[in-house]
């Protein structure tokens, strides 16, 4: 009997511990970034460059609404999945601190929180939105577009009218794929819903900068959406006899490094990314 009571106590204790650990883990996951007043901060800047031959990314034919989608008279459209400038700078790469737990208040660039659909192109191609905030979406085109989100946030909103912003709540953190279901199969963009402000998108020359970083050692990561087409499914419209391919893209790719940030100094980080 004595052993029985002892075991029962042990089991009860174990249940309490498990509950405490489980709830503590959950609470930590929900509040894993704290805003503080950042004094004595440092800066991280650098570039993301492509190494090796630049892969040829196929362009898709503009099969619909050419008068709106094709103002320059091009017959095909770049998918914007890999943009490398003459010096090898890679645009649209997201660079962020992976393990930061405290720092400045949210100050993500305003332009990355507004999406326009213009000439059947998502502008900008990479969006950055704080978890719980709204992405503001509009269409400059006088045709139907839809913004179909999948991933961390799922949503499907049409844009039948021009120039009216619709807020879309981005509730869960993670990556969100965007596509249009109104026949514009080349339209694609990615939104990152994030829990802290230490995210930067590389410019056309691959340059990035993270400011107001509390001194310390961090893991810094470069995230690219992926540039390969993993598969394509062709469907023939019997009525119009138009065959349309819808691309499915390869998974995102990341590269990680360590960086030390010192008070009042700028730490330089160079990423070299490649096909392999």
């Amino acid at each position: 009997m004595g052993i029985f009571i002892k075991n029962r106590r042990a089991i009860f204790g174990l249940v309490l511990c498990l509950a405490a650990v489980s709830c503590a883990g959950r609470a930590a996951a929900q509040s894993d970034y704290t805003t503080i007043t950042v004094g004595d901060a440092g800066t991280i800047s650098g570039t993301v460059r492509w190494a090796g031959p630049i892969p040829k990314i196929p362009r898709l034919p503009i099969t619909k609404n050419a008068e709106v989608c094709n103002p320059d008279g091009e017959k095909t459209r770049d998918l914007e999945r890999l943009l490398v400038d003459a010096d090898g700078g890679v645009a649209n790469t997201v660079v962020y601190l992976k393990n930061i737990t405290q720092g400045k208040a949210m100050d993500l660039p305003e332009a990355r929180q507004h999406l326009d659909q213009k000439s059947c192109r998502y502008i900008p191609h990479i969006l950055l939105v704080a978890q719980g905030a709204d992405l503001q979406v509009k269409s400059s085109d006088a045709i139907l577009h839809t913004v179909h989100m999948a991933g961390a946030v799922s949503n499907n909103i049409p844009f039948p009218f021009q120039n009216q912003y619709i807020p879309i709540a981005m509730r869960r953190s993670g990556v969100v794929d965007l596509k249009c279901n109104a026949g514009h199969v080349w339209m694609n963009a990615e939104a990152l819903v994030v829990k802290n402000p230490y995210y930067a998108v590389t410019d056309d020359h691959g340059f990035f900068k993270l400011t107001d970083v509390p001194p310390g050692e961090y893991e810094i990561e470069a995230w690219h959406e992926g540039w390969r087409i993993a598969s394509e499914q062709k469907v023939l419209d019997v009525g119009s006899q138009v065959e349309v391919s819808r691309p499915v893209y390869s998974a995102p790719v990341t590269w990680a490094k360590k960086v030390v940030v010192r008070k009042g100094q700028t730490s330089d980080v160079q990423f070299s990314i490649s096909e392999n």
């Binding site: 139907l144 499907n156 049409p158 419209d237």
Partner: protein
């Protein structure tokens, strides 16, 4: 065990019970539909008998019959459901899933599971919810309001026709609602399978119900997991009813509608 120990045990249980439930996702093991409480444990047995053939043992829509079904069975692990009363992007209410099980999904392989009792359908809903973490992490949004129906008049139908044009419904559903719009060949579901828009001329039932209110709800909430978006931002309630009245005229047996429209609910919840 002394009274003191029993008291400590009781107090600890009372204090920790809600945490234990919420932290373990125990609420996701249940469904609540009106007075019915469904239990996942019972639902699992029913699922193994009635649902596994199409939806698969892991709930991923990869059952042994899936290869022969078009459109493909729902992948419950994605937590995306066509027939909801909640806005696009929200998980459905338990009652939405319950109604879908009882009503079936017209034009798909999903039958009406009417022979199952309401308790059995509630148990199935509880089990289906266990396949997606969304039911643990998220709460459903408030259902989309459905305003009182406006009178069906020639003017309302005419205005509805104009709404159909201005919202560009014809891009997918075609000028005459036959599901043959110019975007058809580009449409894919959430698993990249080709999917066709609804052809309004083929009958009186829609994927998510058959009453006017069901039709109103479908285009206000959208059908998640498909290309059909939510138009709740773009139409007033009066315009939405005009659109319903117009869409009814596209149906081959328009005129018989009034005999069947209000039967919804009797079927799903009987």
């Amino acid at each position: 065990m002394t009274w003191r120990r029993i008291r400590i045990l009781l107090v600890a249980t009372v204090i920790l019970w809600p945490s234990l439930l919420s932290c373990s996702g125990a609420f996701a093991q249940q469904s609540k539909i009106g007075n019915l409480t469904g239990q996942a444990k019972r639902g699992k047995e029913l699922y193994g008998r009635y649902c596994v053939g199409c939806h698969g043992p892991r709930g991923d829509g990869e059952g042994e019959n899936a290869a022969y079904v078009d459109p493909k069975p729902r992948d419950f692990t994605m937590g995306l459901f066509k027939c909801r009363s909640t806005p696009s992007g929200s998980i459905p209410l338990d009652s939405d899933l319950f109604d879908t099980v009882g009503r079936g999904v017209d034009t798909t392989g999903m039958p009406r599971w009417f022979p199952l009792t309401p308790q059995e359908r509630a148990d199935l809903v509880a089990y289906v919810k266990t396949f997606s973490g969304r039911f643990v992490e998220e709460k459903p949004d408030k259902p989309v309001d459905i305003a009182s129906e406006t009178p069906v008049t020639p003017e309302s139908i005419q205005r509805g026709s104009e709404v159909y044009q201005s919202l560009k419904c014809s891009e997918c559903h075609g000028e005459k609602g036959r599901g043959d719009g110019p975007s058809v060949s580009s449409l894919r579901d959430s698993k990249e399978n080709p999917i066709v828009p609804y052809d309004f001329t083929i009958g009186t039932r829609f994927k998510c119900g058959e009453s006017d209110r069901d039709l109103y709800r479908i285009f206000m909430t959208g059908l998640d997991g498909t290309p059909m978006p939510s138009y709740v931002n773009w139409v007033t309630p009066a315009q939405a009813w005009d659109l319903v009245h117009y869409l009814r005229t596209l149906q081959a047996d328009y005129g018989e509608k009034s005999k069947t429209a209000d039967h919804k609910g009797l079927i799903a919840r009987r």
